[in-house]
């Protein structure tokens, strides 16, 4: 397990010198900031018409979750592709490190980076708490943040897995993006069209329902947690297997 941490630490530090990571962080924080500002503006302007309904944090976390669909492919595409290109994959694969530890370390490094960006957005619930009397719904904040964290962790795991399969960065980016778009939007359509249990299956696979309709709305349920944890396991397993297969080629 220590190896995972050592690799994650190196990966995490790497983000702070990588331009793409800054672009991602900047775009996420800018967009989320604008959305927050608009929300607060409308709240202060129209407080009387809102029938006591205070703004909540779900607009910030909701936007953050959506932005992850677009930004995580950009940061995971290079995770293993870069190592392969620079020849350092050979270094890591001949060091006393298990394949799983390598993949999990890469994942954890990216996860810590997203958590860092997410930590910056914690100023918004704090500001909101000051604006609203008698304070905002703490449970919703926790649930919504947990939701974003799980979405990020799942996307990162899938992204790492895909980057291990495709060493070409451009291919990894577009395939990751397609899978995210599929999980986030497309898979919801069959759920609406189909009937009965088939519809239920697609509904369960739809990430939006687990995020927007559940965690981001303040409800923490086991089925949603299982969904995200399964995706994390799937991504890391795919990555580990891909690294193993690469050895045998």
């Amino acid at each position: 397990m220590r190896n995972i941490w050592i690799i994650a630490k190196r990966e995490y530090n790497h983000y702070f010198i990588s331009p793409i990571a800054y672009v991602v962080a900047f775009l996420i924080l800018l967009t989320v900031g604008i959305i927050f500002a608009i929300n607060v503006y409308f709240f202060t302007q129209n407080a009387s018409q809102m029938f006591g309904q205070a703004p909540d944090i779900s607009s910030v976390t909701g936007a953050f979750g959506f932005l992850l669909v677009l930004s995580i492919p950009a940061i995971t595409m290079r995770l293993l592709a870069d190592e392969a290109r620079m020849g350092t994959l050979e270094l890591l694969l001949t060091a006393p490190v298990r394949d799983f530890e390598l993949v999990a370390g890469k994942w954890l490094g990216g996860f810590l980076f997203i958590l860092t960006i997410l930590a910056v957005t914690l100023v918004y619930p704090i500001i909101l708490n000051g604006l609203v009397s008698p304070g905002i719904d703490q449970q919703l904040v926790m649930s919504a943040y947990l939701g974003v964290i799980l979405v990020a962790a799942s996307f990162l795991a899938l992204g790492v897995g895909i980057s291990a399969v495709f060493t070409n960065q451009v291919a990894a980016f577009f395939i990751t993006l397609s899978i995210f778009v599929f999980l986030w939007w497309l898979i919801g359509f069959p759920a609406q069209v189909l009937q009965g249990s088939a519809s239920e299956v697609f509904r369960y696979l739809d990430m939006k329902t687990h995020f927007y309709d559940a965690l981001n709305a303040g409800s923490i349920k086991l089925t949603d947690l299982v969904y995200f944890l399964s995706l994390i396991a799937l991504g890391l397993f795919t990555g580990t297997t891909a690294v193993e297969i690469r050895r045998w080629r």
């Binding site: 220590r2 050592i6 620079m86 020849g87 001949t94 060091a95 080629r249």
Partner: protein
């Protein structure tokens, strides 16, 4: 230290190495010599646990490369042909990272020590991206040495270095090879001759021959070649020489000298000398032309059958 038994690796339909077997003892520097694409890197990658073989077994430092890969990797230092460096890290950070992965206590101290060993201590805090080719090679070697491995595997360690750096690198390798096992690959024959205790010549995935550099040269010089020069006109000289018993081939050179070859153990020189003096030529020079390692190498790698003949 290294025992290799019938190692075979197929890449799809192409057989990269074919039934390779050899041993390397502690304190021995073994050179892998062969043209590009002979299978040197593949063999090394299998021994370092980077990829599994298609067939055959090998043990490194007493551990099976397939069953106990992690144990092998703990005990092997490996410098791949493409030096695996993170350009965005400083030399010290990089070595500390590797030391951490290898569970070395006092990683920072060990990183400094190792940097000193490869003469890079004053560049400890420079980014690797700014390093010259020679420095990159040295930091790559430092990475392979940081855990003081029992076995060191170096893939083309001197490639791309300038002559002074080559000498320096060879000295470092010789020093390490005193008490540890070193397996290195090269396609430069004189290098193998200079630093290796033993040379394995590999071609098209097979070990063609294996011996000490000295023996190899002696053994392979089965036929001796002699160059002969006379004063004045050398017309008909070749004819005379070819009639002497034991002479295999005669070749008249454009500069008037004649080169001839005789088999080992049937030294024809006295007879040749006698014959040409009796024929009235004035003998100026007769000297052996050693078959260089380059020629031996070409001879051996031209086709594997030629290698079988000498071994």
């Amino acid at each position: 230290m290294i025992q290799v038994n019938g190692l075979t690796k197929d890449y799809g339909a192409r057989r990269a190495i074919d039934n390779i077997s050899f041993d390397a003892e502690q304190g021995e520097i073994v050179g892998f010599l062969g043209p590009n694409g002979a299978g040197k890197t593949t063999t090394m990658r299998i021994l370092t646990g980077y990829m599994p073989p298609s067939d055959g077994t090998a043990t490194v430092a007493g551990y099976d490369i397939l069953e106990e890969s992690l144990e092998v990797r703990k005990r092997v230092g490996y410098l791949p042909e493409t030096v695996p460096l993170y350009n965005d890290m400083t030399a010290l950070e990089y070595l500390k990272f590797m030391a951490d992965l290898r569970r070395i206590p006092d990683a920072e101290e060990r990183a400094y020590e190792t940097l000193e060993g490869v003469n890079l201590k004053e560049r400890a805090n420079s980014y690797i991206g700014t390093f010259s080719k020679g420095m990159r090679q040295r930091i790559g070697l430092a990475q392979a040495l940081i855990h003081r491995p029992e076995v060191l595997i170096l893939d083309e360690p001197t490639i791309g270095l300038d002559p002074a750096q080559v000498v320096e690198m060879r000295n470092v390798i010789r020093e390490i090879g005193k008490d540890r096992t070193v397996l290195l690959s090269t396609h430069i024959l004189s290098e193998a001759q200079q630093i290796c205790d033993r040379v394995l010549i590999i071609n098209k995935g097979k070990i063609v021959t294996e011996d000490t550099p000295e023996n190899l040269q002696a053994r392979l010089v089965g036929a001796q070649r002699v160059i002969l020069r006379v004063r004045g006109d050398s017309d008909g000289l070749g004819n005379k020489i070819s009639k002497v018993k034991g002479v295999r081939t005669v070749e008249a050179k454009s500069d008037g000298s004649v080169e001839f070859e005789f088999g080992a153990g049937e030294d024809a020189r006295p007879q040749v000398a006698k014959a040409i003096i009796q024929a009235g030529y004035e003998l100026l020079e007769m000297r052996p032309v050693g078959l260089s390692l380059e020629e031996i190498f070409l001879e051996l790698t031209r086709d594997t059958a030629a290698g079988k003949k000498v071994s």
